[in-house]
């Protein structure tokens, strides 16, 4: 046994390695491209099937054509066809009702006039009864005429319906009649061919999802350390693809899964949908379906129409029930009127009784009038007294405000004086305790070299200088005058401060010797 050693040159080895790597890359990409193509084709088929179904459902919603417009049912189309006649009939009905309304209004007005008359007038109640009876007769006449009109209208409608035929629009998807018919049967959930549609729908969805999942997971699977790694994933997936492509839907993994899923779902769907299914027999368990199934059109009793703008004909009103309701209302109104007449009679009797006590009321009203005439004078007097009271109160308030203002002013003066005293004493305390420590501070060497030290004459400087010079009373030596003159100046550097001090000192009567002698002291006292 001997070891095998490579014999070829390095450059040819590199070329060979690149060639092998390129082949592997190409093989991997080809496999992925196959999976991607399968996924895309499956999803395209799926989308197309879905589109066919949506088109079919939309077509079923507007399946009937009349005068170039689409309608959901033959009944809706008939309503559109019958609209001129039904509109004319409705107008006639309104005219009958309006004519009756004029007579009824006149009768009501006469009844109202009789009601306001004196109830003791001879023959009034009899006249009122007669008018009410006439009014009830008018109501009955109106109801009869309306019923006749409705009956005639129903007969006309039946005649129009018998001569009407709506055209059912053909399902158009591809424009080819035969293919469109097949697609319609595929998409119609009531057709036996619909099971093929469901199988294709589920199969395309399953294959698309599996292929896409395989494509995405291929990178993970191929990098796993599976036993027999060369034959692990690439070989298996290639084998599966070859089988899938060469033997149609007989691949070992995808096809059984897709067929099983599609079969189960399609079977249950078809069994639940088809009219011939035993599951749909009376008493069988109801299975909920998500597909839309269009009910057969019922012309005699049209279903409630929606408010879609494409449906031009509304539901016909139920005239019979409305008339019955109207008759009931009129009858109840007649009864109410009779009751009202009786009540009016009772009111007349009551008024007569009340009239007897009217004289007493008139006497009391006269007395009240006298009191009312005197009332304005009393009100004026009360108002004057109230105004005087308000004025007095305002004057008193003003006086109190003035006194308070003066008091506050005095208090403020006292407080200001106190604050000033306290401040002065505090300054003295500071000068005598804190300031001596402060003036012991010296600028650091670095601050002096770099020019960061600043000097300014303050009250403390003046006070300490005054203490050091032992100045008392009104004595004002030139040194003190010069320092006090510098009190308003801003902080300055050493040189600028010294120059200013020299100028002020000479101006105050000092000399060069005094300047040189006191400059260090003033600088120490003025270091900020």
């Amino acid at each position: 046994m001997t070891a095998v050693a490579p014999q070829s040159s390095p450059s040819s080895d590199r070329r060979e390695i690149r060639r092998v790597v390129w082949q592997q890359l190409r093989s991997s990409l080809a496999q992925k491209a196959k999976l991607l193509t399968i996924a895309v084709v499956a999803f395209v088929i799926f989308a197309k099937l879905d589109d066919i179904r949506k088109t079919y459902v939309k077509h079923q919603e507007k399946a009937y054509v009349y005068n170039g417009r689409h309608y959901a049912s033959e009944a809706a189309a008939f309503e559109a066809h019958d609209r001129p006649r039904s509109t004319a009939a409705a107008k006639g009905r309104r005219a009958i009702a309006a004519a009756a309304a004029v007579d009824l209004d006149a009768a009501d007005a006469q009844i109202a006039q009789l009601r306001v008359k004196d109830s003791k007038e001879k023959g009034l109640l009899q006249e009122l009864d007669r008018r009410i009876t006439e009014r009830a007769a008018l109501v009955d006449t109106r109801a009869r005429r309306l019923a006749d009109h409705d009956q005639q209208e129903a007969l006309d409608r039946q005649d129009a319906l018998a001569s009407f035929t709506a055209v059912k629009a053909p399902f158009v998807y591809t424009g080819k009649t035969g293919l469109d018919g097949l697609l319609r049967d595929l998409a119609d959930s009531g057709s036996p061919l619909h099971i093929v549609y469901e199988i294709l729908w589920i199969a395309s969805l399953t294959i698309g999802i599996l292929a896409l999942s395989y494509l995405i997971l291929v990178s993970i699977f191929r990098s796993l350390p599976l036993p027999g790694s060369e034959a692990s994933f690439e070989k298996q997936s290639n084998s599966m693809l070859e089988k899938l492509l060469s033997k149609g839907l007989t691949a070992k993994i995808v096809a059984p899964l897709a067929v099983a899923t599609a079969g189960v779902v399609a079977f249950s769907g078809a069994a639940a949908t088809l009219p011939s299914s035993p599951w749909n027999a009376p008493g069988a368990t109801t299975i909920v379906r998500t597909h839309v199934s269009t009910p057969p059109p019922d012309i005699v009793t049209p279903p409630p129409t929606t408010t879609s703008p494409d449906d031009p004909v509304p539901d016909p009103p139920d005239y019979a029930s409305q008339i019955a309701s109207l008759q009931r209302t009129v009858a109840s109104q007649a009864t109410a009127l009779q009751a009202h007449g009786v009540a009016l009679d009772q009111h007349a009797v009551t008024l007569q009784e009340l009239g007897e006590t009217a004289d007493g009321h008139a006497t009391r009203l006269t007395a009240h009038d006298g009191e009312l005439q005197a009332t304005p004078e009393r009100i004026a007097a009360v108002r004057t007294a109230a105004a005087q009271l308000v004025l007095d109160e305002e004057l008193e308030r003003t006086r109190v405000d003035d006194a308070l203002t003066a008091n506050i002013h005095n208090t403020q003066k006292q407080v200001s004086a106190g604050v000033e005293t306290i401040g002065r004493r505090a300054t003295e305390v500071e000068w005598s305790s804190v300031a001596p420590h402060t003036i012991q501070e010296r600028p650091s060497l670095a601050a002096r070299v770099l020019g960061f030290d600043k000097y300014q004459v303050t009250e403390v400087t003046v006070h300490l200088l005054r203490t050091r010079l032992k100045v008392t009373g009104d004595q004002r030596p030139p040194l003190l005058v010069a320092v006090e003159a510098m009190q308003q100046e801003p902080p300055r550097s050493y040189d600028r401060f010294a120059e200013s001090f020299k100028a002020e000192l000479l101006a105050a009567g000092g000399d060069q010797k005094l300047y040189r002698q006191w400059l260090p002291v003033v600088m120490k006292l003025s270091y900020k």
Binding site: M1, D13, S28, L29, E230
Partner: protein, 143 residues
């Protein structure tokens, strides 16, 4: 040297780059219908494929180096390891093929050839690394 049998260029990175590049192609075509940015996406696809190729090339070099290192040694199978539990768990046909090598020193290629002839290429590729776990690598001249 048959590089086709030796070179292993697959890796998670290479596979991911290839998948991303491939998925980018239809996306780029769709985008290209409305926007010229699709050209840049197609360029990105080529870049991803180039990176995948580079990654595969790197993996190939490493696999060849590992293979060369493996075949540069001979392998001594000590007799006492024949009775270990792990060896006993190997399939019977594999154990039968290993019987002659206990107590001897063999080269990688000889052992591979022997197992390939007896077990087939797939199982030989699976159990050759397993068998080498019980051997000690020695200098090639000892074989």
């Amino acid at each position: 040297m048959d590089y086709k049998q030796i070179v292993r260029s697959d890796s998670l990175i290479a596979q991911t780059l290839e998948t991303a590049g491939l998925l980018l192609v239809p996306l780029a075509v769709i985008v290209l219908m409305t926007d010229p940015v699709g050209f840049f996406m197609l360029g990105g696809t080529l870049v991803l494929f180039a990176l995948a190729f580079a990654s595969r090339l790197y993996n190939a070099q490493r696999s060849i180096e590992a293979f060369r290192k493996m075949i540069s040694h001979a392998y001594l199978f000590p007799k006492e390891r024949r009775l270990t539990i792990k060896v006993a768990k190997l399939p019977l046909d594999v154990r039968e093929q290993l019987e002659p090598v206990w107590g001897t020193t063999v080269t990688y290629s000889d052992l591979q050839q022997q197992l390939t002839l007896a077990l087939g290429s797939d199982r030989a590729r699976q159990y050759l690394p397993e068998a080498l776990k019980y051997a000690d690598a020695v200098a090639a001249g000892n074989a």
